[in-house]
C-alpha cells in the first residue's frame, strides 16, 4: 500500500470511528485519574485496575453466559481494588505510589496466573467465549452522510465515555461533593477545618476512579476485542494519567488529550500496513505522549514570556513618550 492511500484513509469516516473506539479505553481511566488527582491522592493503579476488570469481565461473562453479569463483575473488581488501595493509603498510611505500583504488579501476575488456572493457557483466553457489549445504532444520526458513520454503530462504552465526561464535569464543578473534593486536593487542612472529612472524600474519589477505569479495561476485552490477553492494557493506565495533565486537569481537556493519544494509536495501526518496521510504528503512541507533554510545557512558558515581552514594550513606549 502506498503512502497516499494511507493518507486518504486517515480522513475517512471509518478511520475517525476507529479513533473514537481506540480512545475510549484511555478516556475512561483518564477521568478516574483526573478525579483522584484533584482529590490529592492520585491513583496510579489505573493500569492494574483495567487489567483486572478486563479479565474479570471476560471470565464472568463466559461462565455465566451473561454480558450484564460480566460487566457487573468487572466493575465490582475495579472498585474493590481501589478500595484496597484506599485502605492501604488512607488507613494504614502507606505511600500511595508504592501501594499503586504493588497493585499493578500484582494485577499483571495475578491475571496471568488465574488465566492459566482457568484455561491452561498463559497467553490469552481463547478457549473462553467472552460476551460482547452491544453496539448502539441511532436511527436518524446514522443516516447523516459522514458523521453518521463516525458516531453511529459504536459500542456502548464509547457512548459511555462521552456521557461520563459530561457527568464528571458536572460532579466536579456543579455539585457540593465535587467542590469538596477539589478543596481537599488543594488544601486538605482548610477543608478539614470546615468540617469536610478528608479521608472519606479521598476514598470516594478512589472508588469512582476504580469504577471508571474498570470500564476502560472492559472496553479492551469485551468490546474492542472479545478476548483477554496477558498485559493487554499495555500502559494505557499510565498514558491516561498523561492525558490528565495534558488536558489541563479539566474533564473535557482530558477527553481531548485522550483522543489525541487515541489518534496516534490509530495512526500507528494504519501505518502498520506500510513497509516500516512494525516495532517502530508501535512506538508512535508513546512518542506522541512524550512530545505532547513537552510541547505543552514549552507553550506554557512561551505564553508567559510573550506576556512579559509585550508589557516591557508598552512600558518602554510609555517611558519614551514621557521623555
Amino acid at each position: 500500500m502506498s503512502f497516499d492511500v494511507v493518507l486518504r484513509s486517515i480522513f475517512s469516516a471509518a478511520f475517525l470511528a476507529s479513533v473514537l473506539r481506540i480512545s475510549t479505553p484511555l478516556i475512561l481511566p483518564a477521568l478516574g485519574g483526573l478525579i483522584t488527582d484533584l482529590s490529592g491522592a492520585v491513583n496510579i493503579a489505573l493500569e492494574g485496575i483495567m487489567l483486572t476488570s478486563a479479565f474479570t469481565g471476560v471470565v464472568v461473562s463466559a461462565y455465566s453466559g451473561s454480558v450484564f453479569l460480566g460487566v457487573l463483575a468487572g466493575v465490582a473488581s475495579g472498585v474493590l481494588i481501589s478500595f484496597v488501595l484506599g485502605w492501604f493509603h488512607l488507613h494504614l498510611e502507606t505511600n500511595i505510589i508504592l501501594a499503586g505500583i504493588a497493585i499493578n504488579i500484582l494485577a499483571t501476575g495475578g491475571t496471568i496466573f488465574l488465566l492459566y488456572v482457568l484455561t491452561g493457557d498463559k497467553g490469552n483466553s481463547q478457549s473462553l467465549a467472552s460476551g460482547r457489549v452491544p453496539n448502539i445504532n441511532i436511527p436518524l444520526i446514522q443516516d447523516i452522510p459522514f458523521l453518521g458513520r463516525v458516531i453511529s454503530g459504536q459500542h456502548i462504552f464509547v457512548w459511555l465515555a462521552f456521557i461520563l465526561t459530561w457527568l464528571v464535569s458536572i460532579y466536579l464543578y456543579r455539585t457540593p461533593w465535587g467542590t469538596h473534593l477539589r478543596a481537599v486536593g488543594e488544601n486538605p487542612q482548610a477543608a478539614e477545618t470546615m468540617g469536610i472529612n478528608v479521608k472519606r472524600t479521598r476514598m470516594i474519589a478512589l472508588l469512582i476512579s476504580g469504577f471508571l477505569a474498570s470500564f476502560g479495561g472492559m472496553t479492551m476485552s469485551m468490546a474492542y476485542l472479545t478476548i483477554f490477553q496477558r498485559e493487554m492494557t499495555a500502559g494505557r493506565g499510565f498514558i491516561a494519567l498523561a492525558a490528565v495533565y495534558l488536558g489541563g486537569r479539566k474533564p473535557w481537556g482530558t477527553l481531548l488529550a485522550a483522543i489525541l493519544f487515541g489518534f496516534a494509536d490509530a495512526l500507528s495501526h494504519q501505518l502498520g500496513s506500510l513497509r516500516i518496521p512494525s516495532q517502530l510504528v508501535q512506538t508512535i503512541p508513546y512518542i506522541v505522549t512524550i512530545l505532547a507533554l513537552v510541547i505543552y510545557n514549552l507553550r506554557e512558558q512561551a505564553v508567559k514570556r510573550e506576556r512579559r515581552r509585550k508589557f516591557q514594550e508598552q512600558h518602554m513606549q510609555s517611558m519614551a513618550s514621557v521623555e
Binding site: P176, T179, T193, R307
Partner: protein, 514 residues
C-alpha cells in the same frame, strides 16, 4: 453573667510527649474581647484548637454556655457556635472568595451548587459586619488583608457567636490592622465574643477588655487590660524584665558590600513590580526598607537571593554578580537570608531541626565527610543552636513541623546567623514571634551589624524599621521614593508620606544617598 466559655484544668499532652497545656483554667465573658498572650510555644494555639474541637484535651473540661462539651471535630464546635481563624491561612487558593466562604456548607438548588446565592449571601454578611471582600475574586489574587477578612467571614457564615482569632495581625500592615480592629469592635457590638491572640502588646492594650497570659503551658494570670501595661505583660510572659527598646551603638560604616543597579522586574502577568531600583549596602550598617506590603519588597528580596529571576539590571556582592544565579551561588557569595515566608521558603517542615540547620552547608566541611555527612558535627551544631537560640524542643531530631510558629522562626534565625555572612537579608524577621524572641532577634541583628556585617532589613512593622535601621529607604509601587541617611532623625509621619507615594524625592536628591 456566667462565662460563655470556661476551661477547667485542661491538660494536653501531644503524642510526641510535649505537654502543651498544664492545668489551664480560662474563662471568657460573653461580649468581651479577650486577649491571649504568651511566648512562642506557650500553648496558646493548642488551647484554642481544643476549644475548636481540632485537638482533644488529655484531661479537663470544656464548658460552653454552661454545658460541658466533648468536641470530636471542628464540625462539632462549628455547630456549637464557635469559629476560628487560624494562625496560617486556611483557604483554597484557586476558589473564589464566595466559594471559600461557603465551603462545606454550600447553598444548593436541586442538588446542584447555587453560585449566585453563595455570592449574594457573601455580600450580605460582608455588609452586615463591615468586612469588605470581592465575592468573585480568586483567593490567590487577593491581598493578605482581604484573605484575613475572608477567614473571619467564613466563621461568621457558619453562625459563629464566639470567634477565635489566632494571630490575625501577624501578616497585616498597620492600616489593615486598624481596619481589623474596627471590624472586631463592630462584631462585639453585634453581640459576638472575641478571643484574640497576638504577640504585639500594643495591640493588646488597644483592643482588648481583658487579657490572659500563658507561660509554658500554664496560666500566669488574667486581668483587665486597664490594669496592665506593656512592660508588666512582657514581664508576666517571659518571667523577667524585657527591653522593649533596642540598645544600639553608633554605626561604623565600612566598605560597600552590595550594589544594586537599575533593577527592573516584570512579573508573569506583565505587571511592573520593580522599576529601576538602585541602592548600595555598606558593611556595618542596617539598611531598612519601609513600605506598605505589596510594593515590591518581597520580589526585591527574592531576586537578590536568587529565588526569582530579574528582568533587567545588576546586583553585585563584593564586586561579584549575583543576579539570576542559584540561591546556593548567592549564598556562597556571602549572602544569608531570613525569608519572609518561613513555611515555604525557610524550612523543610517534615525534615528535622538539625537537618534544617545544615541545608546551607551540608556540602562542605566540617559537615561533609567523604561522600556522606558527619552526623556528629550536625548533632553538635543542633545542640548548640537549640541552646543559644532558645528553640523550645526536647530534641533536634524532631521534625520542624512539631514546633510552634515562633520556634520555627528561631530555627531559621539560628541557621542564618551562624553562617557568618557578609550580607544578611532579613525579611520580616520578627513576624509572629514573641516579645522575648523578638528582643533576641533584634539584638542579634544589631550585633551582626556592629561586628561588620551589612544588613538589609525589610519589615512591615514600621516601628521595627525605625528603631533598628541606620539608614532607611522607602518604597512605593516598585520604586524608591526617598532615602533617609539618618534614621534617628526622621518621623513616622514623614516616612508615611513617602511610603504612600504622596511625597517623592528627585533622582538627583537621592543619587548621593543611596
Amino acid at each position: 453573667m456566667p462565662p460563655i466559655i470556661e476551661l477547667k484544668a485542661i491538660y494536653k499532652i501531644y503524642p510526641n510527649g510535649v505537654m502543651a497545656n498544664k492545668g489551664v483554667n480560662f474563662s471568657v465573658e460573653p461580649g468581651e474581647i479577650h486577649a491571649l498572650v504568651g511566648e512562642n510555644g506557650a500553648g496558646k494555639s493548642t488551647l484554642m484548637k481544643i476549644i475548636y474541637g481540632m485537638e482533644q484535651p488529655t484531661q479537663g473540661q470544656v464548658v460552653v454556655e454552661g454545658l460541658e462539651r466533648h468536641f470530636h471535630s471542628s464540625r462539632d464546635a462549628i455547630d456549637a457556635g464557635i469559629g476560628m481563624v487560624h494562625q496560617n491561612f486556611m483557604l483554597v487558593p484557586s476558589f473564589t472568595v464566595a466559594e471559600n466562604i461557603v465551603l462545606g456548607q454550600e447553598p444548593t438548588q436541586r442538588g446542584l451548587l447555587n453560585k449566585q446565592k453563595a455570592i449574594d449571601e457573601t455580600i450580605q454578611i460582608s455588609e452586615q459586619y463591615g468586612l469588605r471582600v470581592e465575592p468573585k475574586a480568586i483567593v490567590d489574587s487577593i491581598n493578605v488583608g482581604m484573605r484575613q477578612r475572608v477567614e473571619i467571614l467564613k466563621a461568621l457564615y457558619r453562625g459563629a457567636n464566639i470567634l477565635i482569632l489566632d494571630e490575625p495581625t501577624a501578616v497585616l500592615t498597620p492600616q489593615e490592622t486598624q481596619e481589623l480592629f474596627l471590624a472586631i469592635r463592630k462584631l462585639v457590638e453585634q453581640g459576638k465574643t472575641v478571643i484574640f491572640i497576638t504577640h504585639k502588646l500594643r495591640e493588646v492594650m488597644e483592643v482588648s477588655d481583658r487579657v490572659t497570659v500563658l507561660r509554658q503551658g500554664e496560666v500566669v494570670g488574667t486581668l483587665p487590660t486597664s490594669e496592665a501595661t506593656r512592660e508588666s505583660l512582657a514581664r508576666m510572659m517571659v518571667g523577667r524584665d524585657v527591653l522593649l527598646r533596642v540598645e544600639k551603638p553608633p554605626a561604623q560604616r565600612g566598605r560597600k558590600v552590595m550594589e544594586v543597579q537599575r533593577l527592573t522586574y516584570i512579573n508573569d502577568t506583565g505587571r511592573s513590580v520593580l522599576n529601576d531600583v538602585s541602592f548600595n549596602i555598606y558593611a556595618g550598617e542596617i539598611l531598612g526598607i519601609a513600605g506598605v506590603e505589596g510594593n515590591g519588597q518581597t520580589e526585591l528580596v527574592e531576586i537578590m537571593t536568587g529565588l526569582r529571576p530579574s528582568t533587567s539590571g545588576n546586583a553585585l556582592v563584593n564586586g561579584k554578580a549575583v543576579l539570576n544565579k542559584t540561591p546556593r551561588e548567592v549564598r556562597m557569595a556571602g549572602v544569608s537570608h531570613i525569608p519572609e515566608d518561613r513555611l515555604t521558603n525557610g524550612l523543610a517542615l517534615e525534615a528535622s531541626i538539625n537537618e534544617n540547620l545544615i541545608v546551607d552547608r551540608y556540602f562542605r566541611p566540617p559537615y561533609k565527610k567523604g561522600a556522606s555527612i558527619d552526623y556528629k558535627q550536625v548533632a553538635e551544631l543542633g545542640a548548640k543552636s537549640i541552646e543559644k537560640y532558645g528553640i523550645l524542643t526536647p530534641d533536634g531530631e524532631l521534625p520542624v513541623a512539631s514546633l510552634s510558629g515562633g520556634n520555627m522562626q528561631k530555627v531559621i534565625v539560628a541557621r542564618e546567623f551562624t553562617s557568618d555572612p557578609e550580607l544578611l537579608i532579613a525579611a520580616q524577621p520578627t513576624r509572629g514571634i514573641d516579645v522575648g524572641a523578638t528582643e533576641f532577634v533584634r539584638e542579634q541583628l544589631v550585633k551582626q551589624r556592629t561586628d561588620g556585617t551589612a544588613v538589609l532589613l525589610v519589615s512591615a512593622d514600621l516601628g521595627e524599621v525605625m528603631s533598628l535601621s541606620d539608614r532607611i529607604i522607602t518604597m512605593f509601587e516598585g520604586e524608591i521614593t526617598g532615602v533617609f541617611p539618618d534614621a534617628a532623625s526622621v518621623t513616622e509621619e514623614e516616612l508615611g508620606l513617602y511610603m504612600l507615594g504622596i511625597k517623592h524625592q528627585s533622582k538627583e536628591e537621592m543619587e548621593e544617598l543611596l
